[in-house]
Structures are given as C-alpha cells and as structure tokens.
C-alpha cells in the first residue's frame, strides 16, 4: 500500500495508455461510507474545473456560445488510473475507450 498526497494530484496532466494527453485532474468523486472514504473516480477536463469553482452560472452562456467545444470532461473510474508515479498519472486504457460524459 502506498500513501500519496491527493491535493498534489490536482492540476496534474494525465496521459492515456499510448501517451496521448487526456487533460488535467480537477476533481475526485468519492463516497463517504461509515468506515472510510472511497475514491470512485477522477474527473479530468475543463468543465470539471468549472464544477469545482461552481461557476456554471457565469460560464454557461459562454459554453452555449461555443456549443460545448471547449468545456469537456472525462470521468476516469479508479481501476483505469495508474498512480505508480504520482507526478505522471497514466491511464491503463487508450483515450478512445473512455466514456465522454458531459
């Protein structure tokens, strides 16, 4: 078992299995059970950042104007993320297989 500082992962670039850039880690989706706080997945991409700043009321008009081209987000389930080197998080699968959730 390895211990890493979660807050240092924020903003780190994530590359997929064949080295293609996916985006930056902006948020962790977690579930808070009685015993522990389990990490479900990692949110990567600019719209995850907007979520974190809860700034959608400001950004939504811009997002509509650009018809959603700029603000994208990938939800990476915890199994697909390889955190052996916390400085360079990598995906275990190519980017194409990732579900592009909005």
């Amino acid at each position: 078992m390895k211990e890493i500082n979660a807050e240092l992962l924020i903003g780190r670039k994530v590359c997929d299995a064949n080295g293609e850039k996916v985006g930056r880690i902006e948020e962790f989706r977690v579930t808070n059970t009685e015993k522990a706080c389990l990490v479900e997945g990692y949110l990567v991409g600019t719209s995850a950042l907007v979520d974190r700043l809860s700034a959608w009321t400001l950004i939504r008009p811009i997002d509509k104007a650009l018809r959603g081209r700029v603000f994208s987000v990938y939800e990476i389930p915890w199994e697909q993320m390889d955190l052996s080197d916390p400085k360079h998080p990598k995906l275990r699968i190519p980017k194409s297989e990732l579900r592009h959730s909005k």
Binding site: I10, L53, S54, A55, T57, L58
Partner: protein, 404 residues
C-alpha cells in the same frame, strides 16, 4: 428597533470611515491642478464601491463566509497565496501612508516632525485594537471621522460654480498634461475602490452576526453611506479647486494641503483640516491593520474576532501587532507619507484585478449565495470594474513613471 439603530450606525460609520489620506490627497491634487474636471473619477469610483461593498456584505450575511474564506475554499491555496501576496503588500503600503497621515496631522498641530510621531501613533493604534472590541473601534473611529464633514462646509461656503461642477461629472480629457491627468484619475479610482474596504466590511458583517434578514439594510448602508462619503471626497476636490487652483498651488507636500480650508473657514479651517485628517487616517489605519490580520486569520483558518481577548485568538492578535510595528519603520526613516500615498494608490489600481476577478466568481456561486446570487445589474457593474481595473493595472504603472 435594534435594526434601525444598526442602520443609522452603519450609515454614519461608512460616512465617517470613507475619507482617508489617499482620497483626500488625490482629490485635493485633482482640484488644485484641474479644477472641477476630475469629479467624474470620484463619481465612478463611488458607484463601483457601492456595489462592491453591498456584495461583500451580502456574501457574508448569507453564507457566513467572508470573501477571504470563500476565495481560499473555492480557488485553493496556491491561487489564494498570490492574491494574499498582492493585496496584503499594497494594503501595508496604504497603512504606512495612513500612519504617516496621522503623524503629519500632529506635525502641523504641534510643530514636531512626523518622524517622532511614528512610534507613539503606532502604539495608540495598537492599544485601540488590543483593548477595544470591534464595535468600539469601528463605530468610535468613524464617529470621530464625521469631523470630515467640515470639507463640505468649506466647499459650500466658497460658493462653487455648480454648473461647472456638474460639467465636471462628465468624463473629459484635458488639452495638455494628459499623463498627469491620467495618473491623478488612476489614483482617485485606486483611492476609492480599495480592496481592504471590501475585506473589512465583509469581516465586519460576520463580527456583527448579520444574517439574511440584514440584506435590505446592507443595501441601504452601502448605498447611502458610500454616497455621502463620495460627496465628501468631491467637497475636498471642490475646496481645492476654489482655494488652491486660482493661486497656482500644486499639492506636493502636506503643508500645502493644510491651507485648503483656510480661505473659507479661516482659523477654524486650519484646525478642522488637521483634526479631519487625524481622525480619518486613524479610522483607516485601524481598518487596514484589521483587514490584513483578518486576511491572514481567515485565509489560514485561525480563530479571529476583535471581540475576543487577544490570547483567545493569539495568532490574529500577533499579526496585527507585527503589522502596525512594521508600519512605523518607513516613517521612522523619514520617508514622505505623501509619496507613499501616491505610490500606494497607483499600486492599488494595479492589483485590483487580483481582488475583483475572484469576487465575480464568488458572487455567482449557488452554494454560497443560493437565491441571493448576483443579478445581471450587479454582475455587469463588477464586469465594468474588472474592465477598469485591467485598464488601470496596465496603464497605472507607466503613468506613474511619466505623470507621477
């Protein structure tokens, strides 16, 4: 009943607390150099300040978080540390100018140089915070600040040309000396839209335990209080335009500004000016020291409140103690407070984006404000302020070089 008392107190304190060395010196210089021409800058600054102060109060009343709390929680520590570096550095410069202002006021009254007043003034300001509660400091200092109404009396007594003044409310550009005109306008905006006022006001709302029912009152206090305050600044400008401009006197040193009200109120004019500056700068010095200490305490999660004994919030008390003692050092070295004032006003404009951009995000945050989020009017005003602040930030430094 309690609310009405708080309402009147709120308006009085914002009137008394509005003027400080920055707004007086910049307004007086504008009047002495360009007559009524720069009244528009004070008007613009005051309108923006009304919205910013109202929003600061609303954020604190609804979310029980001050701007600093929310900035740290929303934007994370790295970004927050940049904002802290920029805002605290400039606020410290303004604090030095305020302590210098008190020293200069005492200098013209007693003849003893401001350098000798540096330590006693800092100790008095520190004692007020060490022993006083938030109510005593905020209300006491601002009630004393009401003496600044004498500027309005002086201005009216000199029978200003009201038409000319109204014309001055419209933005105009002078024929020559554009750089100095621009620099004075930037300094006036820097003096009125000062970030420490917002941080102090939002922390004050928490100290006074405001809640959502205070929102209408907050709007009235921000509106009336800042408007009267803005009028006082305009009165300073008009008084300078009537007394100094005809004589061709440009204000470079405090002694020149001291003669501002003498044509209108003779002997009274001199002493009223001295006491106005003394109390206005004292109120401002207290507000800035507290604002800086609040910034550190809220940002780093310490317990903070002026109503607690110093030992109950020791790091907060320790911070403002260090800040005030450091503030006295430049004055001991004899650095001219007027120079510090002008530089701090220009730098305030340069760092405005740091304070206002995050503020726009916070005021539209559904988690903090729910249905009390910004309407389109407040948002557009903040957007205008951000636009102005970026323009100021870019031109204020070169202007400082050419026009300063």
């Amino acid at each position: 009943m309690k609310k009405i008392l708080q309402l009147t107190l709120g308006i009085i304190t914002s009137v008394g607390g509005f003027l400080e060395i920055g707004s007086v010196v910049t307004a007086a210089q504008a009047g002495a150099n360009y007559g009524y021409k720069l009244l528009w800058a004070i008007l613009l600054g005051t309108i923006c300040l009304i919205f910013l102060v109202e929003m600061s109060g609303r954020l604190a009343a609804v979310s029980k978080h001050t701007i600093v709390d929310a900035t740290r929680e929303r934007f994370g520590f790295p970004f927050f540390s940049i904002v802290m570096l920029g805002i605290v550095a400039v606020a410290f410069l303004v604090l030095v100018a305020e302590l210098g202002g008190i020293g200069l006021a005492l200098q013209i009254l007693s003849g003893i140089g401001f350098r000798w007043w540096a330590i006693p003034v800092s100790i008095i300001v520190w004692l007020l915070m060490w022993k006083g509660t938030f109510g005593v400091i905020e209300n006491g200092a601002s009630l004393l600040g009401l003496v600044t109404i004498s500027f309005a009396v002086a201005a009216v007594k000199m029978h200003p040309d009201w038409g000319g003044a109204a014309h001055g409310l419209l933005p105009t550009m002078p024929g020559d000396g554009k750089a100095k005109y621009g620099f004075t306008a930037v300094s006036i905006l820097g003096a009125s839209i000062s970030p420490y006022l917002m941080y102090f006001y939002s922390s004050g709302a928490i100290e006074d335990k405001w809640d959502e029912s205070y929102i209408p009152m907050n709007r009235i206090i921000a509106g009336f209080g800042m408007t009267f305050g803005g009028f006082l600044s305009m009165a300073v400008l008009v008084a300078a335009a009537l007394s100094l401009q005809p004589r061709g006197i440009d204000i470079e040193k405090f002694e020149q500004a001291a003669l501002l009200m003498t044509p209108a109120l003779t002997r009274w004019g001199f002493y009223l000016f001295a006491f106005s500056m003394l109390f206005a700068c004292l109120g401002a010095a207290l507000e800035i020291s507290l604002a800086i200490a609040y910034f550190f305490a809220q940002g780093l999660g310490w317990s903070w409140s002026e109503d607690l004994d110093p030992s109950r919030d020791s790091r907060f008390a320790f911070t403002y103690t260090i800040i005030i003692l450091l503030g006295a050092i430049p004055l001991l070295l004899g650095i001219d407070p007027i120079k510090v004032t002008m530089m701090s006003m220009a730098l305030t404009s340069a760092t405005l984006p740091l304070a206002i951009v995050p503020f726009l995000f916070l005021m539209n945050d559904p988690i903090y404000l729910g249905k009390h989020r910004n309407g389109w009017l407040s948002n557009s005003v903040v957007a205008i302020v951000i636009l102005i602040s970026f323009v100021l930030a870019i031109i204020s430094i070169p202007l400082e070089i050419i026009g300063g």
